[in-house]
Every structure is written in C-alpha cells, then in structure tokens.
Symmetry: C2
Subunit: 180 residues, 2 copies
C-alpha cells in the first residue's frame, strides 16, 4: 500500500505491518538522511473517510523512541516529501505507536504510518520544519534569513559622528544592505 | 527501470521509452508542480559504467520544447529530488532528446532520462536551482548567496577617509557582514 524513498537511496515498498492499521519503514543510517518521500503505491486506496498520518521516529540518547508527526497522505494527496534532517533537536509529539515498543538501534530511525479517520488527522499539527512542498516556504525561509541578517547587521550600524577614528576600517552603507 | 513522483500526486512507474536509452514521463499541469522525485525501481540496475541524466522539458511560449538538465541517477545514487518550480524562466541546455520532437501541450511538461556513460555525465552541469538533495547543497547554496551578498555589499564599502560628510547616513562595519 505504501512506499518510502530516502533521497539518494533505493525505494522501499515493503513496510513492516506492526498492527492492522500501522506500517513502519526502517531508515538505516538516518543521521545522513535529509529528505524522505512517503507515497501510496496506487494499488490499494485508503478506505472512504480514512487517511494516513506519517511519523518520524528516532532513538533519543537513552535509546527511547521519540516520535514526531511529519504530515499526512490521503487518497487526494497520495505522496509527500519531508525534511527530516534537523528534526532530532525537536520534541516528541503525541503518537499512536505507543504500545509497540519498536526495537531501537542507535543509527536506525523509522517512518511510521498510521491509518486513521480524516477527521482525526485534521486535528493533528505536524512539526513545521518537516514541510518540503512549496516554493513559498523556501522563499519565506530565505526572506526570513535575510531579514535576520539585516536586523543583525543594523545593530552594529553607526553614523559618521559616532565613529571612532580608524581610517582603515571599511564600512558598508546600510541602505546597500537593504536594497540587496 | 525508473519511477517518477510529483510531490502530492500518485507515483508513475511506466515511462514512455522513446529510444533504446531514453525514457520520458509526462507531467500534466506542470505549473502547479514544485518537486519531482526520480528514482530507479530497483529491478534493473544500469549497465556497468552507465548512469542516467535527468532532464526537465517544458513548452516555451511558441510551443517549442525547452530542456534543462536537472541532475543524475546512478546505481550508487538511485534517487533524487528536484525542484522544478522556478525553472521556467531559465535557459535551455544542450540535451540528447533533440531529434525526438515530443509533442508539446501547453500544460504538460516532461521528465526525460537519458542513459549515458558515467564519464559523459561527469562533464554535464545541471541547473543549480534544481538541486534539492542534501543539507550540504542547501548550505552551499546559502553560503554562495551570502558570499554574493558580501561581494556586492563590499563593492560599496568606504573607509572614513573616503566618506562624504553626511552625519545621518548609517554605516555597517564590513567585518560585521563577514562574521555573520
């Protein structure tokens, strides 16, 4: 029913079914993974009114599983790309894999898919940093970074009257930074 | 041999084989596509010493096919994610699909895969904006952008001795920009 693809590696199309409605893919060497694609194979759709919540699970320093909600796949949106690099510093979220005690190996993470009612999915909020889907988010990110830079650089701005004499230090007019 | 997945849509695993060594996937409604995943199905590897160059093809205003090199898949790196939104303003590049005259429909683009010698692939340069694969490339991209910014801003740099008197204009010490 599901496939999983780590960017740069071979596709996986045979998840472990850990419960009637729960599927798990192993992600070996997950610290070297940036993006993961989760998709429906197109063979079996979700039952009417159902969809899948997609979780990333990694072992914390004590070997305990930390689960984070990445997003969803549904019959209407049967695939999604998620960025998992950088998630490890985040907090775990509520998840439906609690009782499963998946064995945790230090370098192996998991993708878990839980088949649930669409109404239930609609009440869940994925971690924001996992979304890789639109130009907007990339543009926003870049813009935010540049805004941060301008705020940072501006905090050092001086006028000529405030300058201590040092003829060799180079200065950049602040409006040049803004225009760029 | 190949699969293609538009983020948010169903996977495609049956490209049109337009020549012995050339495969094409159609991308309907391509103006609403941000990311495309191209991957080997894992059934048949490339012959020794061969790999695939991955092209994006879209119709220009006159309905002529414009081809852009996105990147590569190989037995060692059998999948890749490409960002195709934003490519439309770019220029076409040299490509091996020239004689094929694929029919162009205004809203349909293509992904073309050409099986070639690895040595030949190594001499080809993909469009930079298509890479979505690693933190490294993203970091490199950001670094490059900041380098560009520093070069741009530095071209306006002045020392105090060169300043025309204007006590209200704000200046940012150039080393602040570098440190950031």
């Amino acid at each position: 029913m599901f496939g999983c693809l780590v960017a740069g590696r071979l596709v996986q199309a045979a998840p472990q079914q850990v419960a009637e409605d729960k599927f798990v893919f192993d992600l070996p060497d997950y610290e070297n993974i940036n993006h993961v694609v989760v998709f429906m194979l197109g063979t079996i759709p979700f039952p009417d009114g159902m969809g899948g919540s997609v979780y990333f699970c990694y072992p914390d320093q004590n070997g305990m599983a930390v689960w984070q909600l990445l997003g969803f796949v549904t019959n209407e949106k049967p695939s999604a790309i998620f960025k998992i690099s950088g998630l490890k510093s985040g907090k775990g979220s509520q998840h439906p894999f609690g009782a499963m005690n998946l064995p945790q190996t230090p370098t192996v993470a998991q993708i878990g898919i839980s088949v649930e009612l669409l109404e239930s999915l609609a009440q869940q909020t994925p971690v924001a940093s996992a979304a890789v889907s639109s130009v907007d988010s990339f543009t926003e990110f870049t813009q935010k970074m540049l805004d941060n830079f301008y705020n940072f650089a501006s905090s050092f701005a001086v006028t000529q009257a405030q300058m201590t004499p040092n003829p060799s230090e180079a200065f950049i007019p602040a409006n040049v930074v803004l225009k760029w």
